[in-house]
């Protein structure tokens, strides 16, 4: 069990933290009502049937436990149908979704959640807070994708819901899969045991070429266009500093064992301009300052033709480390002597490990997963990074956490207008540092 120590550490950290909560119950490994036997079928609902949702349900149904997919929900019928077809072909005995348990539209999630024991939340990030809130309200275990929100009000909802999940002993796994990847677990465990001393600085990167575009189609409402091209709109995506770079930022917070107290940075649309690319920036360079004065530098960009990297490095008082999702995990002492080098080949798939561990806990009736709090706080770190690059201001953690600038449209229908709209030339407003007010909606 390569994951044991890490889980154990996570549990220890959590218990330490929760001991401060007056009257908190002993939480770990208490058998729960319900799935006390592996012979019971665990009913799963999938909310969000795109490429990632299809991947997540495949991983859930590929665990060794007795699962059935019983309900599906998506804003778009075509996405749901394609996912149903692909999932049925691969797991035909485990897909039990009659047509009247396929729910389409903005409110589809509620009905799908009702029918399940465990809910997979894999829609675009903007909806995550309301979906997570509903799932926990209905008493369901949750696997939810990262990021878990796109703005401060969403983060507050997720943090409040995380507390309710703890009270109800509902397992919550967040798809920050580096937390379930052996190179990260093994290397960071050694860092936390002091292998390279105290972490005084670091650099985390997601520099890549950018993602897909679905060109506007005749007859599409603005709402449908934005929903199909969700990556380029903050109310759905949060910008790539949140949607993608949250992975690397989360590693920074994990290695530091805390969250930044203030954040400043700079960014722009430099390469990727035009009406296909909505309102998001294509580059952000951000400083994360922690309570002990240490600074982690964070850089993410979507450029073509430039050098790329997606990885994390940190410097300690006694050495340094390099980590990447490509299974690298290396530690060196101050003289450059390698202390640890995690094997990169024939490693387990972390996306599968997330589900293996979640469903093992659920099938044994144990409470072992409370990822929502760190998921929310690492997501907030990325959101504050966006507030900082858009505004050009230095932003304190607590100020950002309490901001009231919800990006969510007031009405969610296909004819309703999102808050950000294109001008006559089809171009969307892009934040101008010095003018953009990060704490106003």
């Amino acid at each position: 069990m390569s994951n044991f120590n890490s889980l154990h550490q996570q549990r220890r950290d959590f218990l330490k933290a929760s001991a401060a909560i007056a009257g908190s119950a002993m939480l770990s490994s208490i058998p729960l009502m319900g799935h006390s036997s592996v012979n019971d079928t665990i009913k799963v609902a999938l909310v969000g049937c795109g490429g990632r949702g299809s991947g997540a349900i495949d991983q859930a149904l590929s665990t060794k436990f007795n699962l059935e997919l019983v309900a599906m929900a998506d804003a778009f019928k075509d996405r749901l149908d394609e996912c149903f077809k692909n999932t049925s072909e691969k797991h035909k005995d485990k897909v039990k979704v009659p047509d009247d348990h396929k729910f389409v539209g903005f409110d589809a999630y509620k009905k799908a959640i009702e029918l399940a024991d465990v809910v997979i939340l894999a829609t675009t990030p903007g909806f995550r807070p309301i979906h997570f809130e509903e799932a926990i309200k209905q008493g369901k275990h949750v696997f939810m994708e990262k990021p878990v929100a796109v703005d401060a009000p969403g983060i507050r909802k997720v943090l409040a819901t995380a507390e309710e999940a703890k009270r109800k002993k509902l397992n919550v796994v967040v798809g920050l899969q580096r937390r379930y990847q052996a190179n990260y677990r093994e290397t960071i465990k050694r860092i936390q045991d002091g292998a390279i001393g105290d972490i005084v600085s670091g650099q985390v990167y997601w520099n890549s070429g950018g993602v897909w575009v679905h060109p506007r189609k005749p007859g599409q409402t603005e709402m449908e266009y934005q929903m199909r091209n969700w990556y380029y709109f903050n109310w759905l995506c949060g910008d790539h500093i949140v949607e993608q770079h949250v992975h690397n930022i989360d590693v920074a917070n994990w290695v530091k064992g805390s969250y930044p107290v203030s954040i400043q940075g700079t960014g722009s649309q430099a390469w990727r301009k035009g009406k296909d690319y909505g309102e998001i920036y294509d580059n952000h360079a951000v400083e994360l300052t922690y309570a002990d004065g240490s600074v982690i530098y964070s850089q993410c960009r979507h450029f073509e033709g430039t050098s790329n990297r997606v990885d994390e490095t940190f410097q300690g008082t006694k050495g340094r480390t390099f980590l990447s999702s490509n299974n690298a995990g290396r530690l060196w002492d101050q003289k450059g002597t390698m202390l640890y080098n995690h094997p990169t080949k024939d490693q387990k798939n972390p996306y599968q490990t997330e589900h293996d561990e979640l469903f093992e806990s659920i099938s044994k009736g144990e409470y072992n997963h409370w990822d929502a709090e760190y998921g929310a706080k690492s997501t907030l770190t990325g959101i504050i990074g966006r507030y900082a690059t858009y505004s050009g201001q230095v932003i304190k953690w607590d100020d950002a956490l309490n901001a009231n600038n919800s990006l969510m449209p007031d009405v969610l229908t296909w004819d309703a207008k999102p808050k950000v709209l294109p001008n006559e030339e089809g171009l969307y407003p892009v934040a101008q540092p010095g003018l953009f007010q990060w704490d106003k909606a």
């Binding site: 490429g51 990632r52 299809s54 991947g55 997540a56 495949d58 996912c83 692909n86 999932t87 072909e89 691969k90 899969q177 990167y205 997601w206 520099n207 890549s208 070429g209 950018g210 993602v211 897909w212 993608q244 073509e304 033709g305 430039t306 050098s307 790329n308 990297r309 997606v310 990885d311 990447s324 999702s325 490509n326 299974n327 690298a328 990169t344 080949k345 798939n349 972390p350 996306y351 599968q352």
Partner: protein
């Protein structure tokens, strides 16, 4: 002139051209400042396989090949990226435009991950592309240049790597010399390197051993040599896995860099792709995979070219 006469002249011209013109050349890409070098590989025969390697390298058998050209270097990101990113191709084009026929080529989905894995771009081999992706790059090049480029067959690759040698490596059996010719586990520092920094083999090809494992066109079969035809053999691919790769990579030990060593591709190289259906274009867990180009002496017919380039991707769920 009637069409028949034109055809006859064309065929004669083509034949005489191909017989005489098998010499090294530089392929330029019109409208850009991109180019790459091709090495003439003469027709001939060689002993394919090894008695001292793994069972899939046996039996050693005689193979006879027509002449061809082969890329002196592995395909680099400099060439590959204009194919990957249409916007970038437009920027790299002298007039900022992309010809209509080139525009029509299906391009890779933009990878969510960084497919250089931080190992460098300029001068470095393009990596982590699927077999299908590598063939579609050849199609893009064909639309760009009018010249039919394709992947080497396994036999062509080994023939070109050996360059007349029957030994373990192109330079002989002495493993201690490998570092002069190749980037591999002992000297690579865990990363790809710019192409052409080590010594070439006797036929002027660089990095045949090491740096990145190179795609061949062939379906991998561990028993293919038992029944392989002797003249221009190829095990035509019909399944998504496995295809055969050759030459070993920066993260392989010396044994996997041998001229006869064969590497089958694996579905697990896509496990870090979190989406379903999985991408036809990328292997997020195979940063050690690249390729180099081949051009046959006798260009195939238009129908054969279309058949080569236009095979629908096999879905990967």
């Amino acid at each position: 002139m009637n069409k028949k006469l034109i055809l006859i002249i064309f065929i004669c011209l083509n034949f005489s051209l191909s017989a005489q013109e098998l010499k090294d050349y530089t392929q330029t890409i019109n409208g850009t400042d991109l180019s790459f070098d091709m090495k003439a590989i003469p027709a001939g025969s060689f002993q394919m396989g090894s008695t001292s390697g793994k069972p899939d390298e046996q039996p050693v058998h005689t193979v006879e090949l027509d002449g061809f050209w082969m890329g002196i270097y592995e395909v680099t990101w400099d060439l590959f990226e204009p194919f990957l990113y249409k916007d970038f191709e437009a920027v790299k084009s002298n007039d900022g435009k992309i010809p209509v026929n080139v525009d029509a080529v299906t391009r890779p989905t933009k990878p969510y991950l960084d497919m250089t894995f931080g190992m460098g771009k300029a001068g470095h081999p393009a990596i982590a592309m699927t077999h299908y992706n590598a063939i579609q790059f050849c199609k893009w090049l064909y639309e760009r240049t009018g010249v039919f480029y394709r992947l080497p067959t396994e036999a062509e690759w080994e023939y070109a790597c050996r360059a007349g040698s029957d030994d373990k490596y192109t330079f002989g059996d002495d493993e201690s010399m490998l570092g002069d010719y190749a980037w591999y586990l002992d000297n690579s520092d865990g990363t790809t390197h710019k192409v052409g920094e080590k010594k070439s083999n006797a036929w002027g090809l660089y990095d045949m051993h090491g740096n990145v494992s190179e795609w061949t066109y062939d379906q991998y079969a561990d028993d293919f040599y038992v029944s392989s035809p002797s003249k221009n053999p190829v095990n035509k691919p019909t399944k998504l896995y496995p295809h055969s790769l050759r030459g070993g990579a920066y993260d392989d030990d010396a044994n996997l860099l041998r001229s006869a060593s064969r590497l089958p591709s694996k579905a697990a190289w896509k496990q870090l792709d979190p989406q379903i259906p999985k991408s036809n274009w990328w292997f997020p867990e195979a940063p050690f995979v690249g390729f180099r180009l081949v051009r046959p002496v006798m260009p195939p017919s238009k129908e054969e070219i279309n058949a080569y380039y236009n095979q629908a991707p096999i879905p990967d769920r």
